[in-house]
């Protein structure tokens, strides 16, 4: 690939002007600043009238941070709503560059799906759906597909090979769909993509980066490539993926919330970030040449967890791209972009542990030179997504301390006369209620705006199954979210503390019941929340008990009542985690179209294609049959062995390799260490030698795993051949 893109980029006019960008950002962040200052002054006034304690100072500082974050979130929704009201024509939409464009694509593009220990049948089903969907547009010739495996499980490796072969056989995809497995998974997903770019990137103008659970509509992919071809300044085009296929209550809540409230935030985000957008790691189109030139990740100072290799690569790659003058846009109007979510709260928190460490590493980049404002803002928001939790925790803990201290010293919890009383003719109680109302307003405003929008727009209302279902879903989601929030806050706080301590959080294995998280696992995972909840409730009740000022039950126990949402969330962490993980309740909700999303009520064509995709499954080539799974199939089955060996590089059989193969024959795959077995699987002559040996030798001298696998092919007289017929 030549480097002719840079001159083309420099001679192309920016999609959105610099002054207008400045104006939009000033209005947006200026608004956030004004609201935050006003609310903070209001609280300061209250504190002053209550009689400033020293603890009020840190409380005030923390309030400024938290209220700033809250206002920032709400303003995304407010500006998103304004952007929607102004209409599609008024909003900034990079996708309009592809409007009206038809004809064949001019350049070649790659669709890359990195996989790591995934279910290969499901992965290939998604590739099949995307493949068929692009094929339907008539642009298939411009695309190559890559399954980039970093899989460490050796059985899954073999299954990936057979699934891919079947997929190619059924779709006629040889020479268009490729499978590559890395021997070492250095630098995780970023390294996997980097390896692709280094090896084959020069063949392609852009690459569509997916996750293993991603699904995208072919017409939208073609549209994105048209934008990329039309606009030389574009480095990354990110789409906002929608969550799909949620079966547990937890994922159904998430996908409903993201589907209903998400568009507001996305439009609000696009309002200010414009060409300085971010990359979320998947469902995005990336121009390969600048990616290779600028996006190899630098090492951070020191060791992990704060230093060393960058764990969350996506934000940094976008930052590097933007800092070099390439534009990163959010294509908010690309509809056919989907992903799946972790099924349970426990799985969600396990994933968050990795993201938390990755995002905290980004603190280094806040102090990097030459980064534009939008990039620093993205990094800051990413960091605060996790650092916000300990700050919230500290705020609540300090609040509890102040209440405890005042109760003990017989000081009033209520303010007296103040500036607000003099200027606005309202007393301290009213003032505190107004401030509380403002805070709650900011907190719930996005949901309220989204619900109003949904109810007033017939197409949205119908797509969610009607107005009642929108209202029910929003209320239900709000209640469960309130219960989940304290649990997540404590989990994030512990994650941050463990990272600061330089330790990884010991989550252990996920032992699940067939229907979500088991009670045992839930109590083990959420033990800190439960214990903290009990202790905190005790303290809160004691504060009310010792308080001598107010009369009446409600006044006496006002603090406990005030803290109820937090305390309930902590006390019920385990039951709520278990209940929301159950798919049977999720299915019951779906049956009545409750928490339903438009994609469930009217599935898009690419989802139907993925649901019906079976090309990767074929009994003629199968490495998942009981008794001969994965590695065993690669040795015993003539076709699986043929596929596996054909994908290996040529090598000679040394005496040491032969000895290793003999050990595997006599002791079975379980007799070898994972490294030895992995090494053996890379040796084509050894795999062939073993294939011959298991068939030639009688039962003596070889492990029963092989003889049983050989025996499993013998058809019994009562066996019906239909299962094996194609």
């Amino acid at each position: 690939m030549d480097n002719s893109q840079t001159p083309a980029r420099e001679t192309t006019k920016p999609f959105f002007g610099g002054f207008r960008t400045f104006l939009r950002r000033t209005i947006f962040f200026g608004g956030v600043l004004i609201v935050n200052i006003a609310a903070s002054l209001w609280l300061t006034d209250l504190f002053w009238l209550m009689g400033f304690q020293k603890a009020h100072y840190p409380l005030l500082v923390i309030f400024i941070i938290l209220n700033g974050l809250l206002t920032l979130g709400s303003f995304h929704a407010i500006f998103g709503a304004i952007d929607m009201l102004l209409g599609r024509k008024q909003s900034v939409r990079i996708s309009k560059l592809a409007d009206g464009k038809t004809g064949p694509l001019e350049k070649r593009h790659a669709v890359v799906m990195p996989v790591y220990n995934e279910d290969s049948v499901k992965t290939c089903a998604r590739i099949e759906a995307i493949y068929r969907s692009i094929e339907a547009t008539g642009n298939l010739d411009s695309f190559d597909f890559f399954i980039l495996s970093d899989t460490r499980d050796l059985n899954l490796w073999v299954m990936e090979e057979t699934s891919w072969t079947n997929l190619c056989r059924q779709l006629g995809g040889f020479g268009r769909i490729y499978y590559r497995r890395r021997k070492t998974n250095e630098n995780r997903k970023a390294g996997n993509i980097g390896d692709f770019v280094r090896t084959w990137g020069g063949n392609y103008e852009s690459m569509l980066v997916l996750d293993a659970d991603s699904l995208m509509d072919g017409a939208d992919i073609v549209k994105m490539t048209r934008i990329m071809e039309a606009y030389p300044r574009l480095g990354i085009l990110q789409t906002p993926p929608k969550l799909i296929r949620g079966s547990s209550v937890f994922t159904r809540l998430q996908q409903f919330a993201m589907r209903l409230y998400g568009p507001l935030f996305i439009r609000g985000l696009n309002f200010w970030q414009l060409m300085g957008g971010s990359y979320w790691g998947h469902n995005a189109l990336i121009r390969v040449q600048p990616f290779s030139e600028f996006c190899e990740l630098p090492a951070l100072p020191g060791r992990e967890p704060f230093g060393g290799r960058i764990l969350s690569h996506d934000f940094v790659e976008a930052a590097l791209m933007v800092s070099q003058g390439w534009e990163v846009w959010l294509a908010w109007d690309i509809e056919g972009t989907f992903e799946e979510a972790p099924p349970t709260l426990v799985d969600h928190l396990i994933r968050d542990r990795r993201w938390c460490q990755g995002n905290l590493q980004h603190m280094w980049l806040i102090f990097a030179r030459k980064l534009p404002f939008s990039v620093r803002m993205h990094l800051f928001m990413g960091i605060m997504a996790y650092l916000g939790s300990p700050v919230w925790f500290l705020f609540l803990a300090l609040g509890t301390w102040v209440a405890w201290d005042r109760a003990r010293s017989d000081l009033s919890q209520l303010p007296f006369e103040n500036y607000a009383a003099r200027w606005f003719d309202i007393n301290g109680v009213q003032q505190s209620l107004i401030l509380t109302g403002v805070i709650f307003g900011l907190l719930f405003l996005p949901k309220i705006l989204a619900v109003i929008g949904g109810l007033l727009t017939p197409s949205i209302r119908r797509s969610f199954g009607g107005g009642f279902r929108i209202i029910f879903g929003a209320i239900f989601e709000t209640i469960v979210s309130m219960l989940l929030a304290p649990c997540i806050m404590v989990a994030h706080t512990l994650m941050v503390l463990s990272i600061i301590a330089g330790r990884a959080v010991g989550w252990g294995n996920q032992n699940r019941e067939t229907d979500g998280t088991s009670w045992g696992d839930a109590f083990r995972f959420h033990a800190p929340q439960t214990i903290l909840g009990i202790a905190w409730t005790g303290v809160a009740v004691t504060i009310g008990y010792t308080s001598k000022n107010p009369a009446g039950f409600v006044s006496k126990y006002a603090f406990v009542l005030w803290m109820t949402p937090i305390l309930l969330g902590l006390l019920l962490a385990a039951p709520v985690s278990v209940w929301t993980s159950r798919t049977r309740y999720g299915k019951a909700l779906l049956k009545h179209k409750l928490l339903a999303t438009p994609e469930e009520i009217s599935p898009p064509s690419v989802m139907t294609l993925a649901d019906n995709a079976t090309a990767a499954v074929d009994s003629a080539l199968d490495a998942s049959v009981e008794g001969r799974i994965g590695v065993v199939a690669a040795v015993v089955d003539p076709y699986v062995n043929g596929v596996h060996v054909s994908l290996l590089e040529h090598s000679e059989l040394t005496a040491a390799d032969e000895a290793l193969a003999e050990r595997c024959l006599s002791e079975g795959p379980g007799g070898l260490s994972k490294n030895e077995l992995s090494e053996l699987l890379y040796l084509a002559p050894a795999m062939l030698m073993m294939h011959r040996a298991v068939w030639l030798r009688s039962t003596e001298g070889i492990h029963s795993v092989w003889t049983q696998a050989v025996e499993s092919y013998r058809r019994r007289l009562d066996h019906t051949p239909h299962a094996e017929s194609n």
Partner: protein, 196 residues
């Protein structure tokens, strides 16, 4: 290749032990053909009989080798040689034999061409064509790009922090002291704001 009319007289007379040995050989060859997804029992029986006939003929000259070994060796070499003839390329090493075996699958032998399997030439041109077109492409042509990480350039605060952080990494005592100072600072803050 042995055909159904070929007599198995070379095997006879068979003792009880020899009968068991040939039974095992039969089972192994039959299982292998079934592993190749040959579904038709008549076809399988016919092919097994032929393979065993050749193995029995070899047994006369190689009496020390187990019947299963001879039969399976015949089966494997017959499949390899036959695919070589159909593909019309020499299978120079055993790896290519695996590719020939794979070509059977990719050409759809288990589905459409069972009756052709291990039969002498001429073969249906469509089958030969499908076998020759069957291949596995490991990847497109290489088109390499370089990706070289560029070191992060920090501002004054970042540079200072990076230096300090790396110093703590190199000298654990500094890290220990730093942690001590931070904990002390937190203790002072807590004492000042909460307890004083």
């Amino acid at each position: 290749m042995g055909l159904p009319h070929h007599s198995l007289n070379t095997l006879r007379p068979l003792s009880e032990g020899e009968l068991n040995e040939w039974e095992e050989a039969y089972a192994a060859v039959e299982a292998y053909l079934q592993a190749l997804r040959l579904r038709n029992r008549l076809l399988v029986a016919e092919l097994v009989r032929g393979i065993l006939w050749r193995a029995s003929a070899r047994r006369v000259n190689e009496p020390d080798k187990p019947a299963r070994f001879l039969a399976m060796e015949e089966a494997l070499s017959e499949v390899a040689e036959w695919t070589q003839d159909v593909l019309d390329v020499p299978l120079e090493n055993r790896r290519l034999a695996a590719r020939g075996r794979l070509a059977l699958l990719l050409a759809g032998m288990p589905g459409h061409w069972q009756g052709v399997f291990l039969t002498p030439a001429p073969w249906p041109p469509e089958f030969v064509d499908a076998m020759k077109k069957s291949y596995l492409a490991a990847g497109p042509r290489f088109a390499e790009l370089t990706m070289v990480p560029k070191p992060l350039e920090f501002n004054a605060i970042g540079s200072g922090a990076a230096q300090w952080w790396e110093t703590m990494d190199r000298r654990p005592i500094m890290g220990f002291m730093f942690t001590g100072v931070i904990i002390s600072l937190i203790a002072v803050i807590v004492w000042y704001f909460l307890l004083d």
